[in-house]
Symmetry: C2
């Protein structure tokens, strides 16, 4: 890569650190940015910095926000009676996109992973318990991912929360909407049978 200019080589190097972006893709992106108008480069650079500066965690639910508490926590239209617990901010987005949920959230920022040294204190579990003790909450929906770590974390939380006298639910496992039974894995089909409901 002798003929990349030093400033392009630096940009390629920084872009290659992004997940899923190899050196070749980074080179292609750098050339594209070079060709784009200066306004775009400026807007992109500013968007990176301002996102970093302005986005922080809500002190109540630990969702990403620019105001604290976040708009969901302060929305009077949303019920304080139900809290949906998710692993990461993108999971919150996934639930919001489904549009059915009108309660509030709590973002754990991870799952229990004892082998990686992630215990309860590394997650936002204590703040969750504190929230649950204020009396407004009636149900906690555990929406951690349907994998080993997510299940273990859900079980751990259920054990902590049930003694508080709250309803604890887990999102349903089953065949995905639009999926084809033939191609769904056995575990999922098994769970879908277990979770069958009256029609």
């Amino acid at each position: 890569m002798t003929a990349l200019t030093p400033s392009m080589a630096r940009l390629v190097q920084q872009l290659s650190r992004l997940p899923g972006i190899g050196e070749k893709t980074a080179g292609r992106l750098a050339f594209w940015i070079l060709r784009a108008d200066r306004e775009y480069a400026q807007a992109l650079a500013e968007a990176i910095i301002s996102m970093k500066d302005e986005t922080r965690l809500c002190s109540v639910c630990f969702a990403l926000t620019e105001v604290d508490p976040c708009p969901i926590c302060t929305d009077p239209q949303r019920s304080a009676e139900t809290i949906c617990v998710v692993e990461e901010p993108p999971d919150l987005l996934a639930v919001e996109r489904a549009r059915g949920f009108r309660g509030r959230y709590h973002v754990l920022h991870g799952t229990l992973a004892p082998l990686d040294g992630v215990g309860p204190d590394e997650l936002k579990i204590q703040p969750l318990l504190t929230r649950l003790r204020d009396g407004a909450v009636r149900e906690v929906i555990l929406a951690t991912n349907p994998n080993a770590e997510g299940e273990a974390t859900a079980l751990y939380l259920a054990k902590l929360i049930k003694p508080l006298g709250l309803r604890v639910t887990r999102i349903a496992h089953g065949v995905p909407v639009g999926g084809d039974l033939e191609y769904v894995d056995v575990m999922t089909v098994g769970r879908a049978l277990e979770g069958r409901r009256e029609m």
Copy 2:
């Protein structure tokens, strides 16, 4: 995407304008940048701006450079007798990576595409002819791409350059090294036969 913060939404929007980056990938990149340390965000933003500010075109060969003329044009180790003509800056990199070439370059910044309104005046053809008239050059290697536009541009240039009494060559077409004849397209096999050489 109700729950993206405004600054994240702006970053996702800017990232989605990059080629090959859809909204989903942009979201993933934005979350990754949010998680990365602030130094990385700063370094990435600065790399974008400084690349834009510092990289320009060499006034001799129109390669990308930060100094004018570019390091290749002023390298006394590189012969001024041979000029390799390429379409775009990445093509120059491709030839440099092959390491065999010790002459200089000329970047056209496009190919002739009359239907898209790209005529000879839109490319760096006049400056090429001016360079060729200074007496130092003996051979011009036409390394435009082996597709319809590249071939047409090479033919056009050959017609202009030959009358100047210079040697004009075209990069060889043939089967790629490591390729399997069975899977090479017929055009390429045909060209490889035409271009056969004594062993």
